[in-house]
Symmetry: C2
Subunit: 340 residues, 2 copies
Amino acid sequence: MPGLTLEDVARQAGVSRSTVSRVINDHPNVREDVRKRVQDVIQTTGYHPNAAARTLASQRSWMIGLVLPRSVSSFFTDPYFPRLTQGIAQACNQYNYTLGLFLVSTKEDEEEIFLRVSRKSLLDGILVQSGHTGDELIDRLVNSNIPLVIAGRPSQPKNTSYIDVDNVNAAFSAVSHLVRLGYRRIGTITGPANNTAGIDRKEGYLRALTERGRSVDPSLIVEGDFTEEGGYYAFQTMKAACPDAIFAASDAMAIGAMRAIHEAGLRIPDDVAIVGFDDLPTVKLAEPPLTTVRQPVYQFGFQAVEILIDLIENGIEPPRRVMMATELVIRDSCGASRRK
Amino acid sequence: MPGLTLEDVARQAGVSRSTVSRVINDHPNVREDVRKRVQDVIQTTGYHPNAAARTLASQRSWMIGLVLPRSVSSFFTDPYFPRLTQGIAQACNQYNYTLGLFLVSTKEDEEEIFLRVSRKSLLDGILVQSGHTGDELIDRLVNSNIPLVIAGRPSQPKNTSYIDVDNVNAAFSAVSHLVRLGYRRIGTITGPANNTAGIDRKEGYLRALTERGRSVDPSLIVEGDFTEEGGYYAFQTMKAACPDAIFAASDAMAIGAMRAIHEAGLRIPDDVAIVGFDDLPTVKLAEPPLTTVRQPVYQFGFQAVEILIDLIENGIEPPRRVMMATELVIRDSCGASRRK
DNA sequence: GTGAAAGCGCTAACAG
DNA sequence: CTGTTAGCGCTTTCAC
């Protein structure tokens, strides 16, 4: 099977290179019996086209890149990424694309990787995870006009294609849920101020309070960083403001906050109710089980690839934009079961 | 910058294609001023070689693949993988390789991916994570004689190259530590029986007891699955055997076991001491902070790539084998501080 | 429906 | 030290 070429297959099947190529690429104009014959030879010889040659001749690499900018440092801690990656990888398999992974760690990486991914000869398209607002790499990628899909709403959408979960509505319904349960002092532990997901979730929080005629108390809004430790300290800060319920913008922060709540000698949900965001596998084992917002992470990754392929095959205009719905998973930490 | 070729650069610099090629590939035989001139043109034009053409002509793709077999289902839950991936990605950046990610989810994926990665035209080499014993994909990869490095000792090493952490010694010192602290009934929650890391850690456990003249009580050995839930149920099973210390083969299981221990109304480490394995970021926040074995995951990934590149450049014989040392991180859950 | 022929953009002898 | 010349293995007009 090594060094086997189109030419070899053609010879053995008694046809020309072109015909074999047509068979491989499912072109219509091949007589049925000829096609059959060629396919047999391919089968028995175990022939497989040379990827580089194919790319060179067709100007299509059938490879897409997943780029994780430096600002996405949470890659190593957030269980979100493995799940996202799985969705992406599965979609690539299904559509016969190869997935390249570009993890930017340093400033030099950034330069090097930008050069590598932006020359059209390696990748047909790029999927990039949005990170902080004002990530320079994303801007450069956007301007390189290679097909590009941003995972997560970018800070300035321009005419880019992106996919995101509807963070505003997700937070809105989570907080509305707390309002309906009768809590009066609902606080929030937000994500980092420069993170669009964090911003949108805070927006949903504010909207839920405002639309239901509640006033907003700034001392009940504490900035976190999406980590467990961040959540822990955030509650310690918020404690003085006496929240009776908290919407944490990530499960990790919710878990950290719960630890702080327990250490303060308070009960969940009786003294402080809490709702998280993500539905990590472990939070249903928390004490008490955590009410949280479930994101369709796998489908998110899968669909991101589908959009990218659409861009590759049908052109990048107009920009495609997709918002995915989330689901509120009600467990015990919000106190819903107790109040019934 | 689009469609710029070697030819264009050559013309602008007033030299031949070959000379430009030499400059790009750092060949020695180019006069210094000529090299300078060519480099200037490359700079100003933003020229970048076409990856496919290069691969086709040189038979080197400068791309390696990371393959995660179906049996490595823990990819989505185990924080180990993001860290591993980071090490791998960084090494790829440093050595100028592109990283392809091949995540096998289904049986069809497996066939499709095997075909794709095993034809030499796409990848220069493969890094595969070892999963269960008897993983068919790994066997096929081994036989495809493309440069291959297995991450984790394979079940039957044959003449393969692999890298692993020294699980036996790691477990040995963890359990020895417990022995030295005076515990009499030291149990273990193992990994899955078909997982080499799990097997080796159990082996280290047995060795530590035996070499120190302790008898082995089978009722103190319970099989887990590396998950938190698994650890939880494992302790419930082991409880009847009255362990006074436990070596859990993963932190996740240790955390689960700790939950079960607390629920049983027992104190850690006073009633039951516990030691984990991995040093996940969260376990230092556990109650009490977990004593555990730290693996050099990042370096592990990095070095795996270095070995693979060695294989690619210097031939796959003889097989390279590397064992990495671990470190016991002593916190409170083992009771060391208390006993002093 | 099929084949011939011209590249795709680069590397690597081989001359000189 | 530099240029000429073949390819690398495939796709894709363009004839037939």
